[in-house]
């Protein structure tokens, strides 16, 4: 559990008792590529800590195009949080793009633990703040950067991105088409 432990330590260290209580609601799972962690149209119950592998959250928009909201890498928190928060059917599907090792956490059980133990409550808040910051930045990028600049920013964050996931997924993450993406990549050569 080492990158998970350091994730907790970095965000908010827990007392021995709280850590034990938290561990009791966690399940380590090995998922093969294409495993669905959370499915569009279903009310999710869990979220995940991605120990290794790559996953993504995507939907099919009104125009019939795939839109990849998020590409997750190891150390990321993965989940259909809007649906978890509202206890409603998810709008996004979350799937493993490679074999993944995840730590599964029951969202409701974590909320219950957070209502009992203040250190778990603080950790829970910090996780929410992390998700929040990512969402804010993504919105600002959409508003202020064109597709080329968004692609360059993605490359800067994950230099190896072109080898890790398909061009189709990168394009759908940038809200563009593969044809336009390949044009952008050519123009940057």
């Amino acid at each position: 559990m080492n990158n998970f432990l350091s994730f907790i330590k970095r965000n908010h260290p827990l007392s021995t008792n709280s850590f034990k209580e938290l561990s009791d609601i966690l399940v380590v799972k090995n998922c093969t590529a294409k495993t669905i962690l959370s499915e569009k149209g279903k009310i999710p119950q869990n979220f995940y800590f991605l120990k290794s592998g790559i996953a993504r959250a995507y939907l099919i928009n009104q125009k019939g195009n795939e839109y990849t909201r998020h590409i997750y890498f190891e150390g990321n928190i993965v989940g259909a949080f809007v649906a978890l928060i509202k206890n409603k059917a998810a709008l996004y599907t979350i799937e493993c793009l490679t074999d993944c090792k995840v730590i599964e956490c029951d969202y409701l059980k974590l909320s219950q633990l957070s209502n009992k133990y203040i250190d778990i409550a603080i950790l829970n808040r910090k996780i929410l703040e992390l998700l929040f910051s990512v969402a804010v930045n993504r919105n600002i990028d959409f508003l202020t950067l064109n597709t080329t600049k968004r692609y360059l920013k993605l490359k800067k964050q994950i230099p190896d991105i072109d080898n890790l996931v398909s061009q189709k997924i990168i394009a759908s993450h940038l809200a563009t088409t593969t044809v336009q993406l390949s044009r952008i990549r050519r123009s940057l050569l």
Partner: protein
């Protein structure tokens, strides 16, 4: 202040002790239109609850173009939470678009309180969750909707938006120019009639 108290009661029932501590952090202030609650590059210290008036958060690009990342309406919390959380200088500014009556709350003081009292922590978590939901909705609009559909979504959220703030600010919320906005509205209303 009644609106904020109602908002909190609707979110989570607090103990009397927590209420007493929390209310000490509230400061009601009136700000004129165009007042900058936070300058770009400044560290954010406060968040607010709007009792009256509309506020925008905006970003200034290198080429001088302005974008409104959010338009905050009455009876809602507002602030540059990214800077509050990271404690880094804010990429965004916060400006009153109308005269505003706001409740000002020091974020660090609020967080220290909520780390002591579990009911305040739950309240905080619920507020953050609600805010997160609105961010993801906005992302879906920005990534998947045309500017016309984004305009319609804004109208649905704030029906009187065209009378409340300038066309310039609406356009910059949609990520388009005022000229494009006026063309869009003309097309929209002529095709409806």
């Amino acid at each position: 202040m009644k609106d904020l108290i109602n908002h909190i009661n609707n979110t989570y029932q607090l103990s009397e002790t927590s209420w007493k501590e929390l209310i000490k952090l509230f400061k009601v202030k009136t700000y004129p239109s165009d007042y900058k609650l936070l300058e770009i590059g400044e560290k954010s210290k406060y968040f607010f609850f709007s009792l009256k008036g509309i506020v925008r958060s905006y970003k200034l690009c290198k080429d001088g173009k302005e974008f409104n990342s959010n338009i905050f309406t009455e009876k809602n919390y507002l602030g540059i939470f990214s800077s509050l959380i990271s404690k880094k200088p804010s990429e965004l500014g916060l400006e009153c678009l109308t005269e505003c009556e706001l409740v000002r709350i020091n974020y660090d003081h609020f967080v220290s309180l909520s780390d002591k009292h579990i009911d305040l922590n739950i309240l905080h978590r619920k507020n953050l969750r609600a805010f997160y939901v609105s961010l993801i909705m906005r992302e879906r609009e920005l990534a998947n909707l045309t500017s016309t559909d984004r305009y319609l979504a804004l109208k649905e959220r704030i029906p009187s938006i065209d009378n409340l703030i300038s066309q310039k600010h609406i356009a910059s919320h949609l990520g388009i120019t005022p000229v494009q906005l006026s063309r869009l509205k003309k097309d929209l209303y002529s095709s409806n009639s």
